[in-house]
Each structure stands twice: as C-alpha cells, then as structure tokens.
Amino acid sequence: MRELWELFTAFARLGAVSFGGGYAMLPLLTRELVDRRGWVTDNELTDYFAIGQCTPGVIALNVATFIGNKRKGIPGAVVASVGIVFVPVIIITVIAAFLRNFADYAVVKDAFGGIRVCVCVLVVNAVLRLWKKAVLGLPTFLIFAVVFLLSVFSGFLPVSVSPVILVLVSGFAGILLYGKSESGKGGDAS
C-alpha cells in the first residue's frame, strides 16, 4: 500500500510540473526516478520512451504505465497513470470553469515564454545525458543521425516518415548489427 502511495505521489508531482508534453518531462523523470529513487535506469527510460512513441496513447502516460508495472504490476500501472493526470485534470477543470481565456492573459504568455526557454535547456540536457549511455560507436551514431535528420527535416521530405517506422527499422538494424556478435555478452553498463 505504501509503495502504491509513493508511486501515486511521485507521478502526481511529475504531472504537476511537466510543461510541454512527454519529452519535456524526461529530464524530470531522470532526476526523480533514476537519480533520486532508483526505480529505473537511464537505458530503461530510453527504451520506454521508444516503445511509448510507437504504441497508442500519450507518451508520458505510456512511460508512467511502464514504470508503474515495473514497480507494482497492474495496480502500480493504474496508480502511476492516474497520478500523472491528477493535477492536470484539476487545473484544466478550473480553467474550463472559470478562466476560459487563461491562455490570452499577458502574464501567462510571458511566463510561458520564459518556461519554454527552460524546457529547451532541459531537453538538451536530457539528450546529452542519455546520449552517453546509448550512442556507443559509429553504428549507433549513424542510427541517431539518420533518425534525427529524418525527423527534423520531415517537413521538407516528399513523404513524412512516421516515428513508428523509424523506431522499428532501428530495432531491426540493432538485430543485424549486434544480434550475432554480442549474443551472450550483454555487458553494457546501464
């Protein structure tokens, strides 16, 4: 019971401060769940994000469900997911009831102009940190570069490549690259 409560409060806190969607939440997740609580490793978090990308639903929710499952099975998954939406539901309900033009106030616009800068920095920091654990050598660098360029310049491409395809192809590339040579070793530190 205490562990479920801990899961709920941890994710309620994350939900209360995760501005700008699932990706911006990542640095807070590494801080709270990897460093502080030790519930998951950096690599596990990266894996969850990858799977969260190509499965239905909101990414932040998918990641919460994964971690909830890992800690306490299905009840953990439910508690973590309800936790992450708890504060947003209250805030949005209040706004919908009383402050419909909330987003039009100059103060709100200014504050979020500042917060967006911070989100940029947080995402950059998170990428730098996870990079060290996952981009090891030329093949992984190439996967990173190709996926990054295809995603950033997707607007200029004749066909937009879905993240789902990118993740699946990269997983397949991983099997081709590492499937035989490293089988049975699994010695990468996480």
Binding site: I51, V58, S81, V85, V89, V152
Partner: protein, 190 residues
C-alpha cells in the same frame, strides 16, 4: 448516457493516436464533427491552454472536452477513457518484454532502438527551440542575420544551461519557476 459515450469516445482517441499529444488532434476534430460536444474553435482554444499548463497535451484536451460537455464527471471520465487503452496495451507489452528479457536478439534490437529514441527526443527539442529561440520571419523580413535568433531568450537559455551544469543539485523545477519569473519581468510572451 453522455458520460459513457464520453468514456467510449476518448478510449478511441487513446487507442488510435500514436506518437504523443498532438497526434490526438485529428481525432478531436473528427469527434467535434460527429458529436458537436465542442467546436473547432474550442479545439484551438484547448491547444493554447494545453500549452500553457503542465501535463500531457492529450490529457489536457480530454479533460477540457469532457468538462465542457458534462462538467466534472465528464472531465474525469473522458480522461479515464484516454488512459484506459494505454494502461492495458503497455501492461501487455511490459509482460511480453519481461518474458524476452535476456534474449540476445531483443537486447540487440534495443541497442539499435535507443539511439533512435534519443534522436526523436532531440528532434522534438529542436521543434521547441525553433519556436522559442529562433525568429525565422523576422530574419526573412530584414535579411539581417542577427534577427534570426531571439537574443533575450538565448541569453536566458545559456544562463539556465550554465546554472544546471554548475549547480546540478538544484531541482529543475526551481529553474522552471525562475524562468517563468524572468519571462514575466522581461515580457517574453510578446
């Protein structure tokens, strides 16, 4: 039963939107056309509000649509609808993954998939940076390269980056709060 209908419709949104909050948009437009629970203008309003409050955008949209349609119970049921498929699908995937953990081919696939996951996160970071630190229209209008970047925002970003490097113990939320204050003081929203 409007509440059951809300729950059911947002299960569908959660089930079919792959790849994060904004992927829910086409489904919300469709829902608006079919039900008249909310208008297209409401959706635009929702996007602005979702961007100015914490929490995953998809969740905020579900809460807002649920509340405008059927009050607090509507807000709760619509959000629960969005969560339900994620919890079920991710819980199943988690179990399959656990079963195959240690399988060298699965490990190899994850080695290829991790750099792709980080690349997608980095690409999402670039899209925030593009609207926060860069002003393409101003540059195109003046042809002056110094108009390309929004200098106050870049300065704040550099300070935040250095701050996090120098004081890694300080919680990221404090940096978020500080940037909101800076944003208000220096009118970052305009």
């Amino acid at each position: 039963m409007i509440l059951l209908r809300l729950y059911y419709e947002f299960i569908k949104v959660g089930l079919f939107s792959v790849g994060g909050g904004l992927a829910t948009l086409p489904f919300l437009y469709d829902l608006s056309d079919r039900t008249s629970w909310f208008t297209h203008a409401d959706i635009a309003n929702m996007i602005a509000i979702a961007e100015s409050t914490p929490g995953p955008i998809g969740v905020n949209m579900a809460t807002y649509a649920g509340f405008t349609t059927a009050g607090v119970p509507g807000a709760i049921l619509a959000t629960m609808g969005l969560i339900t498929p994620a919890v079920i699908i991710i819980s199943i995937i988690f179990r399959i993954l656990n079963y195959f953990m240690g399988n060298p081919y699965v490990e190899a696939a994850f080695k290829g998939l991790r750099p792709a996951s980080i690349a997608l996160i980095a690409a999402a970071g670039i899209s925030v940076i593009k609207v926060t630190l860069v002003d393409l229209p101003a540059w195109q209008a003046s042809g002056n390269l110094s108009d390309l970047v929004i200098w106050p925002a870049v300065l704040l970003g550099v300070l935040l980056f250095l701050g996090q490097k120098l004081f890694p113990k300080i919680h990221p939320v404090l940096f978020i709060a500080a940037s909101a204050i800076v944003g208000i003081l220096f009118h970052f929203g305009s």
